[in-house]
Amino acid sequence: MGVFVFLPLVLPLTVLPIARLAEQHLHPRGTTRLLTLLAAVLGLCSTLCLGLLMVVGTAQLPGNPLPDGWSDPEVRAAVPWAEVAGAAAIPALAAALTACATALRRHRRILARTHRALDPLPGGSDTAVLPDDEPYAYAVPGTPGRFGRPGRPGRIAVSRGMLRSLDDDEQRALFAHERAHLNCRHHRYLLAVRLAGCVNPLLLPVYSAVTFNTERWADEEAARVVGNRRLTARAVGKAALIGRTAPQPGLAHFAAPEPGPVPRRVAALLAPVPPARSWPPALTPAGLAALVAAAGTAASALSALNAAVALFVVLKAATPL
């Protein structure tokens, strides 16, 4: 099997070109779903691979409670540099799990704090208008009820400063955008991809891609609800311009002028509606690219799974279990 057992650890690299292609050719809804699924599968495979490496490489070390049989010479022959890889897998796995736990805990804490902050405002409506001159607008996802505590519905927190700078129609676009975040449960996609990034840092770039695509998705929903793409584009643009922070010195001058997320969103809204179908016709360049991307994705996911399963089978054969 050789070095192929390490494949699940590096295969996440292939997601990046796929993300690029998907962004160009798919509706943001499709892109978000595709990338999240990919990140989740690759993240799982990579964790599985780390766990198995750790078992194989370290089971026979004195002091390790795992049965020695799990690290049979035959098994170790299948894994190159079994001992080194096993030893390296321990801190890697520990780091991955700690990062996941931290991210989850932080997620819960921020949600709880935000809901607690919004509690004094009257319930009934999902919108909380906060008397604050600082312009901001956030979608606050609901929380499920746990341990006897009732769940909380999702809310939209908008500052008065933000509302003041938008006219009535633009406010409608803003609310439609935030409501789309809540209704389509974008926070779940974001959390899944975030955890995948914790497990394997090579998946981190997928997070920014999914963040951007959930925003685009909500933009498209908002444009559909208010029935005016240009209006939605103007709302996004105006909100960004009043909320702008002081430009970061230095960086902005040297960085290649790659447009940031907001101009890209506005440009996309000023362009025609992206195709609603999730698959472009097969005989166009876009269709071919999508096919190639899909094939690549399937291949990466399959080989990751294959490597993980093969390692597992070798282990199982060598143990009395």
């Binding site: 991210a103 935000t114 902050a117 509690d119 906060l130 803003l174 643009g237 922070t245 940031g260």
Partner: protein, 142 residues
């Protein structure tokens, strides 16, 4: 505003945030600056005086109420209403949590100088060739 009525059965399991909001609401019902004893009475007397004092001090630390010495005690005035308190706490979450963007999806993200320029150009161009108001040939589908 107007203060939320709270039954006694709920008084046992009230979170800090709810207590703060309640005290603030009671303070709002006062025609002028109020003493802690007045607030305690306004709440139906089911909170200990020391609890009311603690909550008032906490609100003071947050800038939600102001106080003035009058004789041997303080008199308290609300600096902000419940919505103001909510805004205050919301700001603390937004300023205090580094990773909040991962949980709360913001309508727009920060712009770089180059982004700002680009955005202005885009919007200007959009306004320039805007069709008659109310019609949008590009919005279709349902």
């Amino acid at each position: 505003m107007g203060g939320t009525p709270f039954g006694k059965e709920r008084s046992r399991r009230r979170g800090q945030g709810q207590l703060e909001a309640q005290v603030l609401a009671a303070l709002h019902r006062s025609p002028g600056p109020a003493t802690a004893a007045w607030v305690q009475e306004g709440l139906g007397g089911d909170l200990a005086y020391t609890t009311v004092m603690t909550i008032l001090s906490r609100l003071h630390a947050k800038g939600a109420v102001t106080r003035e010495r009058s004789g041997r005690a303080y008199v308290w005035t609300p600096a902000a209403d419940e919505a103001g308190l909510a805004a205050l706490r919301m700001r603390r979450v937004l300023d205090g949590e580094r990773d909040r963007d991962a949980v709360l999806t913001s309508f727009v993200s920060a712009l770089s100088a180059h982004d700002e320029q680009l955005l202005r150009t885009l919007l200007d161009r959009a306004t320039a060739d805007e069709p008659a108001p109310g019609t949008d040939p590009e919005a279709r589908g349902g």
